[in-house]
Amino acid sequence: MIQIGFKSDKGLKRGNNEDACFVMPKEGVFIIADGVGGGASGEIASRTTVSMIAEYVRSNPPLGITDVATAKAYFLPCLQEINDKIFEMAEKYVENQGMATTVVIGHVNGKRGYFANIGDSRAYVFRKGRLRQITEDHSYVNDLVRTGVISEEDAQTHAKKNMITKALGGDPVCEPDFYQANLENGDVILLCTDGLYGEVEEEAMISIMSSGESMTQVCHELVKKANQRGGHDNITVICIKV
């Protein structure tokens, strides 16, 4: 990678930031989590998740990931452990009831990108003016879109668009999905929470990403745009130019 930008903002309507992110340029691992749950528990879930993944990656550098299967073999044990931990924290303390988090991980290894997700935080690859969504949301509306009940446009305005169907710590079983994408020079990997894509339509995201600005500046502009559109949720973005 040649450039990295990241920004996390609590938005305009929320009192706290339940998003967390972590970048590990040396290992080529990038993580975003968006916590859910009452009180401080969402924040705890997302922070616990990113720091536990970071700790895992630091002590077991990702070597030998060459396809989806090896990516899964590498990340799944760690995600399962975090899942158990959050689930236990949620069971044990009443103030943590319902605590869980989404997570999206991007791992860059040469000309390949590997991705894992649970929930509705996303990974995209931006190439030559086109933005391609890599991960599939685990959300109620996406299930409806996939089964052809509603259109993508309807999904944007659906009353339950924030409802997620899978989350880390939400269920004893942890079933993340894994993806891979080929990368070319100049591609930008975008990881983000729903605070970004829920506010900013794809054309506007593309317009900002096409500006030729530095990744840091692109991240700032994306967050700024989300806040201009209302900033209803926390917004977190990581941009990695390869």
């Binding site: 340029p25 009180g39 339950k160 096409s210 990744m215 209803h232």
Partner: protein, 654 residues
């Protein structure tokens, strides 16, 4: 005693319910000396300001409704961070419990409940309040058997807010969702009618029509699947009543009862028709398995697949059926046929009369929807006002035909039959779609000019700068590729001059240690400038998380690059905010006063002073801040329950 008083007048007596969002208490209002129910929002909901706002607004709207079948709301308020609603206390049972314990309900009893619910919805709808969450869990049955609908509009507050639980209590009511709610479509009064139809189905059969493994399955079933008619599950449901269920639960809003009054009317007709038709058909018949006890006398219902024919079909089929049927059961056959004939003629007539009355006089006027296409919003509003229609603005769309601000399309479409008081949604034009600027980044200057001209744009100001791109390639453009701009307008762009020998390309320093960064910079003839240590959550401690010149930018050789490293700054004046979780379960009273006192190097100060808290909330987090080291005391009422050592310089609490 005083610790159990809310807002100076409500004495909390006992906890009577615990819902997804709130805890309900029985309370006594000291001012009016009556018993009330008080719903207190759970603490996890009070952080979401939008939710609170919606919750309050919707509850206040519902408070304006006064109806014997609606749970009255007396007061909405907040004390400290306790948000509450004071409601009429209904002592009795929740309908869902009743169904669970007793199974299917005798149809007359179900009709009785439904009539009262339809009447309640009618009043709410006339006041433009949509319930959005009609379900047996929201219908309370008093000890005298009077049903009351509760929780008006709270579903809207939940939906509109961004609150999400992974396990989602909100999903609970998906069994009663209308297809449009499942789709996220336009929800109106008819969505309540659908849900009420589902409740009726459940009352009659003891089960919901659609059930599946997960909410999405159930939602899909509401949208796509036909329901099993109740009569196939339970014997003895009058066909007229089944028709009410089927009509209320039509997939399309337009096919349902157009309002709650119409549904009420149909329910009243069920009894009316049954009192004439039912007795005659079933007189003298005895059939086992009809089960439910009878209010009317000795007539038992006969499962009769031909029932539909009595109303829909002609006399012929009835006759054929009757003669071919069981003679023993038809001892009043000739009389039945004669009266049926009279009814078949009379029924459509009386319905016709009813239609006339409802269309012409007292009821809402029905007329053809005018065509508003091409008009300005003001004009539409003026015209619609005359016809008694509400105007809503829908989407702003591109249109080649209509100028900006004029109506492109409308729902309902022109000439559709509509009623006074209805709503028309108009989509307005944002003018014709402009051209799309081509992306010229990374193209050569010549190609860029070619593309711009091909797309009908002009070359604007062109500037040059050094960059880490081969000389002659476009670096940036304005407007950017993909943006809309009128054809013929100028596009400015910046062209690379490449990197001159005296220049350097800044490397990516983020993620490096200070030592690695120094080496990386030296390698390209740059130097490390100021190094600041700052707290940062996104990059591991000891690594750079910010650099003054972005990676890949071109700078003069010898430039120094400032960086920030993630870490704990050594600042003697550092002051951490420390969260402290206070466990309320040790409190001796339900409502108690919480005081938190910090003694530190700046003296003694109170974080909270006699703040009211509810024990049943379980606990809460308080943020402590102060100077240097000290102690924190947690006091419930007048008793100290915990004491901690605290260090605000390091953030430690033990």
């Amino acid at each position: 005693m005083s610790s159990r008083i809310l807002a100076g007048r409500y004495e909390l007596l006992e906890r009577i319910g615990d819902g997804g969002m709130a805890v309900v208490y029985k309370a006594r209002c000291r001012l009016l000396n009556r018993y009330v129910a008080i719903k207190i929002l759970k603490p996890e909901f009070i952080k979401d300001l939008k939710f609170i706002d919606n919750f309050k607004r919707e509850s206040q709207a519902a408070a304006s409704l006064s109806h014997p079948n609606i749970v009255n709301i007396f007061d909405v308020g907040k004390e400290g961070n306790i948000h509450y609603i004071v409601m009429e206390l209904v002592e009795g049972q929740v309908l869902s419990e009743l169904i669970k314990n007793k199974g299917p309900m005798e149809w007359r009893q179900a009709v009785e409940i439904m009539k009262q619910m339809a009447s309640a919805l009618s009043l709410a709808h006339k006041n433009h309040i949509i319930h959005r969450d009609v379900k047996p869990q929201n219908i309370l049955i008093t000890e005298d058997g009077v049903p009351k609908l509760a929780d008006f509009g709270i579903a809207k507050a939940v939906n509109a807010s961004t609150l999400v639980g992974a396990t989602g209590t909100v999903m609970g009511s998906v069994h009663y969702f209308s297809p449009e709610q499942a789709r996220g479509g336009y929800v109106d009064e008819k969505s309540d009618i659908y849900s009420l139809g589902i409740v009726l189905y459940e009352l009659l059969t003891g089960r919901v029509p659609f059930d599946g493994e997960n909410p999405v399955n159930v939602a899909l079933m509401h949208i796509n699947e036909e329901m099993t008619p109740p009569s196939q599950l339970v014997n003895g449901i009058p066909p007229q009543l089944e028709q009410v269920v089927m009509k209320a639960t039509k997939k399309y809003q337009t096919e349902r009862y157009s309002n709650a009054d119409e549904m009420l009317e149909a329910l009243e007709n069920v009894e009316h028709i049954h009192s004439i038709l039912g007795k005659l058909i079933y007189t003298g018949t005895r059939q086992e398995g009809a089960g439910s006890p009878d209010m009317g006398g000795q007539d038992h219902f006969l499962e009769n697949p031909g029932e539909e024919n009595h109303k829909k079909g002609g006399m012929k089929s009835d006759k054929a059926k009757d003669t071919g049927g069981n003679q023993k059961k038809r001892w009043t056959q000739s009389k039945t046929v004669a009266i049926l004939l009279a009814l078949i003629i009379a029924l459509p007539l009386s319905f016709g009369i009813y239609q006339l009355i409802s269309n012409g006089g007292v009821g809402a006027k029905e007329f053809e929807m005018p065509d508003y296409t091409g008009m300005l919003l003001e004009e539409v509003e003026a015209m619609a006002g005359e016809s008694g229609l509400q105007v809503e603005t829908g989407d702003i769309v591109y249109s080649d035909e209509h100028e900006e601000g004029r109506v492109v399309s409308q729902t309902p479409a022109p000439t559709t039959k509509v009623k006074e008081g209805g709503t028309v949604t108009v989509n307005l034009s944002r003018g014709s779609r402009e051209g799309t600027v081509p992306n010229i980044i990374s193209k050569t200057y010549q190609d860029a000019v070619f593309f711009l001209e091909k797309y009908g744009y002009k070359v604007g100001s062109v500037s040059y700068e050094n960059a880490n791109q081969p000389e002659g390639l476009v670096l940036r453009q304005s407007p950017t590729g993909g943006e809309e701009a009128a054809p013929g307008s100028f596009v400015n762009f910046v062209v690379s001059l490449g990197v001159s020998e005296s220049q350097a390309i800044v490397p990516l320093l983020v993620g490096m240690t200070e030592l690695d960064a120094t080496e990386a910079l030296q390698a390209v003839n740059l130097t490390l400038g100021d190094v600041t240590i700052e707290k940062n959550d996104t990059v591991a401690e000891g690594l750079i998380f910010w650099q003054s010149q972005g990676a890949d930018t071109v700078v003069q050789g010898g430039t120094s690059i400032n960086v920030k490293i993630s870490g704990v700054p050594e600042d003697p004046n550092a002051s951490y905010s420390i969260p402290l979780y206070v466990d309320f379960t040790q409190a001796s009273n339900e409502v108690f006063y919480l005081t938190i006192v910090i003694s530190d190097e700046s003296g003694t100060h109170n974080v909270l002073s006699n703040a009211q808290r509810a024990k049943s909330d379980g606990g809460g987090t308080v943020t402590l801040s102060g100077v240097g080291e000290g102690t924190v005391a947690v006091i419930f009422d007048t008793t100290e329950v915990a004491r901690y050592q605290v260090n605000f310089r390091t953030g430690e609490l033990f």
